[in-house]
């Protein structure tokens, strides 16, 4: 363990909590079209779990598990997927939601009017865009946090 990791209390709590934080972030992304939240918010929650790991264990704790090239690839995939989903409905209009109420298997369900419990398999392109933006925000913020932490530690050492 390098000398940048925090005390044993913080490390133990982090070990218990970070999986739950990541799970909650994916829940917020998945239910973005039903409950408050969405891709941006859920992605930020998942990225905060990575930041917690970095703060608790130091930069050496994540070296093998989070690769910067992987994170950049995921971010670019999310951005391109978002653009591709926007271009799907370009026959009618840019960002036209052609999967909503289509009755198909892929988020094609309909929602009853008024207050209801929520239909997960509905919304058309909205949940897919939530996933695209969620992946993008998650990997983007994680990459920023990792790079800034490693950079500042290097400056400290010099």
């Amino acid at each position: 363990m390098n000398n940048h990791s925090m005390s044993v209390i913080v490390r133990t709590v982090t070990r218990f909590v970070y999986g739950l934080v990541i799970l909650f972030g994916f829940y917020v992304i998945m239910h973005g079209h039903l409950t408050p939240g969405g891709g941006f918010q859920g992605g930020a929650v998942v990225a905060s779990a990575f930041a917690l790991l970095l703060v608790a264990f130091g930069s050496a704790g994540l070296k093998g598990q989070l690769n910067l090239h992987w994170l950049q690839s995921i971010e670019e995939f999310g951005a391109l997927a978002f653009l591709a989903l926007a271009f799907l409905g370009v026959g009618t209009a840019f960002f036209y939601n052609l999967l909503a109420n289509s009755g198909g298997f892929l988020f094609g369900g309909s929602v009853p009017a008024g207050p209801n419990a929520g239909v997960l398999n509905a919304g058309g392109l909205v949940p897919l865009m939530n996933w695209a933006v969620g992946l993008k925000v998650m990997s983007g913020i994680a990459a920023v946090v990792i790079v800034m932490l490693v950079g500042s530690r290097k400056e400290e050492a010099e």
Binding site: G32, H33, L34, T35, P36, G38, F40, L68, Q72, E75, A79, F82, L83, A86, F94, F95, N97, A100, N101, G109, S110, V111, P112, A113, G114, N116, G118, V119, A122, G123, G124, L125, V126, M129, N130, V133, K136, V137, G140, I141, A143, V144, V147, M148, V150, G151, K154, E155
Partner: protein
Amino acid sequence: MRKALLFVAFLFVCAFLLLGAAEMRPFGEPVVAMMDEYYIQNAQPEVAVNNAVTAVVFDYRGFDTLGEATVLFAAVVGILALFRKLREDER
């Protein structure tokens, strides 16, 4: 002298804000509510989404979200470029 000037400026700004607050409309009564009503009425039948905010962000105003994602992308690329020298030293 300078403090007195600052105090007068402070009073001026305070009076400005208080006058603005006195003429504010009551909470929940916007000047134009047409778009709000449209979103609230049509988010569920049109987009099949319970969360009307998500319907606005990803469907009605999707282009805005594209710009937001571009801003985030630019920020991430800028920070990665800023710290590139440090990462090259590591190798």
